[in-house]
Symmetry: C2
Subunit: 107 residues, 2 copies
């Protein structure tokens, strides 16, 4: 991803996986990543999951309206219900507007 | 962490580890977590690293001034230099102000 324009909307999703249905979860995650990438205003995503099942995904959007449109997308809403039913024990989501951004790479 | 007050400052740190010096890195990370937790305005931290060495850490601060004070803390600055020298191949850091926040837990 690298450095972001100021004003970019970051959506920070922190979720604890159940141990259930790894295959169903992986398929849904792949489908959601592909679908998000096609939405207006999508700027990218970064995602990490640790061995204890805690994951952090940050997606980046051009505007708050774009982030809300993805939140309200019917396909996304259906997957969210499945997530609550089967894949997650808890999650937290923060929407935050970027005020500074830096990157560094070893030369 | 759970739901955050609006206006909270989130610092999103996304870093790729080298394969070097796991012990030195782990000791420094533990020391930095403990030191950050003692700073004014610290509200918490969440951190995940995947098996490929990509990590996302999000720390939360009461105000931008608090986040900047931690950035400029001498102990933190010294560790940052060590990180560039030994522990990271690249990183990105975004500072973003929370505009919405939700949490959910399986009942």
């Amino acid at each position: 991803m690298g450095k972001l324009p100021l004003g970019t909307i970051s959506v920070i999703f922190i979720a604890q996986r159940t141990g259930n249905d790894d295959e169903g979860y992986a398929a849904a995650a792949t489908a959601m990543d592909a679908s998000a990438a096609q939405q207006p205003g999508y700027m990218g995503m970064e995602s990490v999951r640790g061995h204890d099942g805690l994951g952090i995904t940050v997606s980046y959007w051009r505007s708050d309206a774009d982030a809300k449109a993805w939140r309200d997308h019917p396909e996304h809403a259906a997957i969210r219900d499945a997530g609550r039913d089967r894949w997650y024990t808890s999650y937290t989501l923060h929407v935050a507007q970027v005020t500074r951004s830096y990157d560094w790479e070893k030369s």
